[in-house]
């Protein structure tokens, strides 16, 4: 069992990791065919991950309903929503539109999914304002620079600001293209090195936390 849970995944990870690292440097059609096939396997596995997510969600909320923990009514609502959407989706054969006419699935998508997601995202506009009001204070030199550049960019990125303070557009462009690019590049290099280092550790079997067990080996 240990072999199946620990050793075998590590062996597979090592072989596939090394093979497809080298594949990047091999232009031969055999190598291209290999990556095409593996890409197809990965698509299939990604599809299964959807089912896993769904199954785990069903299981967690089933336990909540069974034990009648506080708030278990919301788990019932979740079940109703999920099963209802799945049933309607199957009934409409997964189509949101047929010959230009909206299906029931399309109706549910357009009038529940879209407004609900849009609403959650739109709360950000209000929260940004209250966070900015609380946080953008010139407490120190660095905070003053942050405040000034935030005000200039906020003006330079909208027509009203460009109209009232024409130079704000040019300064904004300079801030975005020069200062912002430089800093983002530095962060990107650092983060990318981290990602490369993690990938190497996973391929070489040094990092095993993704298997769900202990850390340092």
């Amino acid at each position: 069992m240990i072999f199946l849970k620990r050793q075998l995944p590590l062996v597979i990870t090592f072989i596939m990791g090394v093979t497809f690292t080298l594949q990047y440097y091999i232009p031969h059609p055999v190598s291209e065919e290999a990556i095409t096939n593996v890409a197809k396997w990965m698509q299939i596995i990604s599809g299964f991950a959807l089912f896993l997510g769904l199954a785990s969600l069903f299981h967690v909320h089933a336990v909540k309903i069974k034990r009648q923990v506080p708030g278990w009514g919301y788990s019932l609502v979740l079940y109703a929503g999920m099963l209802g959407m799945i049933a309607v989706g199957f009934w409409s054969h997964g189509e949101t539109r047929v010959d230009g006419a909206q299906t029931s699935f399309g109706w549910l998508y357009d009038y529940t999914m879209v407004p609900l997601q849009g609403t959650m995202f739109s709360i950000l506009a209000f929260f940004i304002a209250s966070a900015a009001y609380r946080a953008f204070r010139a407490r120190s030199r660095e905070a003053s620079v942050l405040l000034a550049s935030a005000v200039i960019v906020m003006m330079g990125r909208v027509p009203l600001g460009q109209f009232l303070v024409p130079w704000s557009w040019d300064v904004t462009q300079w801030l975005l293209n020069v200062l912002n690019s430089a800093v983002r590049r530095a962060i990107l290099i650092g983060v990318s090195m981290g990602a490369v280092a993690l990938s190497l550790k996973i391929i070489l079997g040094i990092e095993r936390s993704y298997l769900g067990g202990g850390r340092d080996q």
């Binding site: 440097y25 091999i26 232009p27 997510g53 967690v60 950000l124 929260f127 983060v191 550790k201 040094i206």
Partner: protein
């Protein structure tokens, strides 16, 4: 006078009726298998001529053999398709700088198969004049190694070596110097505050799964936080978006309580799964914050649009908030709404600093070497490129090419 007039007439008529200079065919024309490719293509190379111009055109004619019927496959002005600096590395260039280079790939009009020989010739046309080149033959074949990317492979192997050496060194001595991270002092303060107020601590591990660096760092920091929480007997709540991360965190928190000598205080349901959907999870966590009013909120890992929704709600409840993320697009929101923010690699460093795990410490060290190397190359490369331009020399390209990405 009549003789002079006659001679002038003779001269100018000679000039008027003299045959124009004949058009020279392309010089040094050759056909090769395109290097570093998947096959089914040929490379055509010939020397540049001083008379190349936009009014003069080049036609490429190809056939399956020198005696078969030729077919026109391409046409372009003669003053185009030059090899420029940066097209090929010096160690893998099919044509020199300034020469003409054209890649002839297989197409519906002229299919090319590997292993078969093809004959190609060029036609130069300038007004009414034409000149054919010699017929050259080439045989396409796929290549097993892209020599243009040998520099890339060398750097990957070198970085791997440095990383493994750093990890080995850290295993021998895990107490390598790591700069103290400011936000870490606040962790103790936050836990103490929660204990005094008798309110729980909320810890989030972000949107990523266990194969992402920030999530791994978040779980390590959770272990350290859990140890302190166990010691102070404070309540800990860790809502999750990913079942595997939840499983890992459950073990980490349990181990932390055992190490702190308080296995009895461990609660199985301190780690719980909500949903993997972004905004549903956010709404649920916001609800927990508003109802249970935790005294301290930790936001560690990778985040997306939900970051501000979480932190602003937490700020409205008066909690002390500590964040750590490498999601640079969310950093402004964390910085404005949280009391302390670990930016980018400070998160990885914090996890290494707290746990002193040799793998984490060694990895950090290896990455630092990598960054030091990149910074040195940036300074050196900029200097060499500038000197090269000022001095008008291309000799530094031999060094600079090594750091470029060629396909």
């Amino acid at each position: 006078m009549n003789v002079v007039a006659f001679l002038c007439l003779l001269f100018f008529s000679g000039v008027a009726f003299a045959a124009p200079p004949s058009l020279a065919p392309p010089e040094g024309f050759r056909v090769l298998d395109t290097p570093n490719d998947t096959g089914k293509s040929l490379s055509l190379v010939w020397k540049a001529s001083p008379s190349d111009s936009k009014n003069r055109s080049i036609q490429v004619w190809a056939a399956e053999s020198p005696h078969a019927a030729f077919k026109k496959v391409a046409e372009f002005p003669s003053n185009t398709r030059y090899v420029k600096a940066g097209d090929f590395p010096w160690w893998a260039q099919p044509a020199g700088k300034g020469e003409h280079y054209v890649k002839l790939s297989s197409s519906q009009a002229f299919p090319i198969e590997d292993g078969k020989s093809y004959a190609v010739k060029l036609l130069v046309r300038d007004g009414e004049q034409e000149a054919w080149s010699e017929i050259a033959e080439g045989r396409p074949a796929p290549n097993f190694f892209n020599t243009a990317q040998v520099n890339n492979l060398v750097f990957v192997l070198a970085f791997t070596g440095v990383l493994l050496a750093s990890i080995a060194a850290a295993r021998r001595n895990p107490h390598i110097y790591l700069r103290r991270i400011a936000g870490l002092d606040a962790v103790e303060e936050a836990i103490g505050r929660s204990t005094e107020m008798g309110r729980p601590i909320l810890y989030l591990t972000g949107a990523g799964d266990m194969s992402e660096v920030p999530t791994i760092a978040a779980t390590v920091i959770l272990g350290e936080v859990a140890k302190k929480v166990a010691h102070y007997d404070t309540s800990l709540k860790v809502p999750h978006r990913d079942p595997i991360v939840m499983a890992v965190c459950q073990e980490i928190v349990k181990e932390a309580y055992v190490e702190a000598g308080r296995p009895d205080a461990y609660k199985e349901d301190s780690n719980f799964f909500i949903t993997s959907d972004q905004f549903s999870y956010t709404a649920a966590v916001d609800g927990i914050m508003l109802r249970e009013k935790p005294a301290a909120n930790f936001f560690m890992g990778s985040y997306f649009a939900e970051s501000l929704l979480l932190t602003e709600t937490g700020a409205s409840t008066g909690a002390i908030q500590i964040a750590g993320t490498d999601s640079d697009h969310q950093l402004p929101f964390f910085v404005t709404t949280c009391d302390y923010t670990l930016i980018g690699e400070e998160l990885y460093a914090a996890s290494a600093y707290l746990s002193r795990e040799p793998v984490l410490v060694g990895t950090l060290r290896g990455q630092d070497f990598g960054k030091a190397f990149i910074m040195s190359v940036l300074v050196l490369g900029t200097a060499l490129a500038t000197i090269g331009v000022v001095a008008g020399t291309e000799n530094f390209d031999y060094v600079l090419d090594f750091f470029k990405d060629f396909k």
